[in-house]
Symmetry: none
Subunit: 216 residues, 4 copies
DNA sequence: AATGAATGAGAATTCATTCAT
DNA sequence: GATGAATGAATTCTCATTCAT
């Protein structure tokens, strides 16, 4: 988990925006690289040690830059963390979205979403430490992440209902339930153990959902 | 959330055991009261501020005892936290168990369990901060709590299946899914907002489960 | 070193005096035993851990009495330590004196003194930790111990000179030199290693002294 | 004693090595100065108050730097102390060595060594507090200091014996004896009182040694 | 932009000593 | 006399942040 590259080596548009929102966009190519190095290092540091145990000096050491350079790009420890949470949140969404869109119907979409999610998590185990710790470090990000995710699911279900693939009486409650299932299944079968394949897990759940909220 | 009594005013047997496991059981009545005060104060302090922002001096101030008295009963900040996690975990279980046992069938049991859980959480909002933060402070407790809870659910489902109330093909995956649903529904409808009643939430889910894993 | 009884099980006259000088002589038999237990425990505790690392609670735990009981017999941590230093100092003197007195001449006396000293130290290794630490804890005791010891040696040498066994030009300088030799030889061949017997060490030194300050 | 300069104002090679061994060598000139100031201040603080009574804040106050700066250069209170013991130990050796080397024969060398030692000690009275307290704070340094010193003396005596200036039957025992004499004579005539000149003390001892272990 | 030294507020922890029972 | 809980001053160590070079 620790060693893996968490993000591409250059800043994408949305990442630049994200960083800019914390106030300090790099102007030169050299600066861009330093920022990238710091961001990657922060994901590793916080993923390994958590926010409170992780340190700025740990980040800069990993990034191979001087301590002071950190403050060229971020205003505070909280700021990198916030940027990271948003970044991770976006990554999950971006990674899972295509499979969901490609699914033939809504139940299949949920199966694909869960399966992809678990698979993604296996390659990014730090994601739980980072997003969950936001509950304590930056509750706003935490709420935003889950509220947004639940909304997305609710919207999907609604659309599925409109298409007649999902029972009409589903609601936000179901969206939150599905999100909760996914999160814990990701923790259990993605982060903690991989004794069951993502597909097998997703199949079980999809079957339950098909009967539970599907229209047959 | 902060002001509520989290535990009874005397140490029950299991609480005594719990504390003793951290090493320093009181030998006099006076000591018993002080320990109780510290434990209650710790639940409030950590519930309000979280583990890292909470302080020993905050705990002893709330408990109305001297700073040093804390160390008469606990070896460290981590130690109270561990004791607290275990305590909260036990409380949830103890609170929810009777309703589950009293239910006529397995689906009704899950409904009752969720409903009670949300209701309990509304009166103990600090429970999320404490148990979830264990992921970072004392991962072992965290794992233990969720692994134990999932096992308990799995055992219930298995028993239900044996009685023919639950489909035979359910597995641990379903137990983790149900736990995840419950946790997030508790967060959304217990801690964050109470725009929907626990019963209504539980009804929706129970219906889905009845179709999804029930035998009709 | 730790387990050995450092003093007899009852208080001798001088010990009683010594303790009384710290202010709190026991009145009952029960009290006498408790005091004895505390004194023994203190020698072990300080011998093992040193003054600063040693603790009152460590002493009372070893003595098998309650923490508070310590203050029934001593006014402070310093007070036991002072009592102990004086006690150890007296013990060395009392142990070594007979052999010195019994020696046929002054050089033989020095040999006997050194030999006995090393032997004694082997059975009471804590003596160095306690007496030497007095330099930092209670400098007065430390000075007193060494000044007294040096004086005693000087007096012996003078008497020897008067009897014609020792050169007439010896002085305090020689007394301090002899004491220094003895102390370091005790440390090296008594406490640290016992690869050479006390007698062999004493023989070497006696020979040197015979030529160096003896009259042949 | 407290105010005297204990070490030169810049870091010598060996000092740099010594400090580096504790892990944090300065990289800039400014850093070098700060480290020097801390080291000097520590010698004064510990010399005056001893290790346990001395405090980090006392050191940084004397050094005129912020409390935290201490930790830029040392990992702990123990670490400075260790560095200091090693430093003092080296200083004594370096100070005394030239006089020993310049002496015409081995007995003269011992006289010169003792004389210089006492003189040095008069100007660095803190040396005893620091080296002796190592027995309790960092026994390894303590052992090392004395074992090394004794070895050095033994080697000198052996060389003297090879040249026929010293009797052939001298051994480690004599080396330890001589070291012990020197240490206590330094304490008595260097630190405690200066009623006898270093030369006079050294003359007395040299005469004793000439007869005792010399070949005439 | 980069560097790394300096800063100091903040918190956990220890333990001698007191005292009510 | 004995007990052990309570007290709180004192200290070490951490680390985010600032700033001079």
């Amino acid at each position: 988990m620790a060693g893996e590259r968490v993000q591409p080596a250059t800043l994408s548009r949305s990442e630049a925006a994200l960083v800019a929102s914390e106030g300090k966009a790099p102007r030169t190519e050299r600066g861009r690289k330093t920022l990238r190095a710091i961001l990657d290092a922060a994901a590793i540091e916080f993923g390994e040690k958590g926010f409170h145990e992780g340190s700025i000096s740990g980040i800069t050491r990993r990034a191979g830059v001087a301590l002071g350079s950190f403050y060229t790009y971020f205003d505070s420890k909280d700021a990198v963390f916030r940027a990271l949470v948003r970044d991770m949140s976006d990554q999950v969404r971006d990674h899972v979205a295509p499979a969901i869109r490609a699914a033939p119907d809504q139940i299949a979409a949920e199966r694909a979403g869960l399966s992809e999610f678990i698979a993604f998590v296996r390659g990014h185990k730090e994601i739980y430490r980072i997003i969950d710790e936001a509950e304590f470090v930056d509750p706003e990000s935490f709420r935003l992440h889950y509220a947004t995710t639940a909304d997305r699911i609710a919207a999907r279900l609604k659309a599925g209902a409109a298409r007649g693939e999902i029972r009409a009486d589903i609601s936000d409650v179901h969206a939150w339930a599905i999100m909760g299932m996914n999160v814990f299944l990701g923790l259990r079968y993605g982060v903690w153990q991989d004794d069951v394949s993502p597909e097998a897990v997703a199949d079980s759940i999809a079957e339950m959902l098909a009967r539970g909220i599907g229209t047959k």
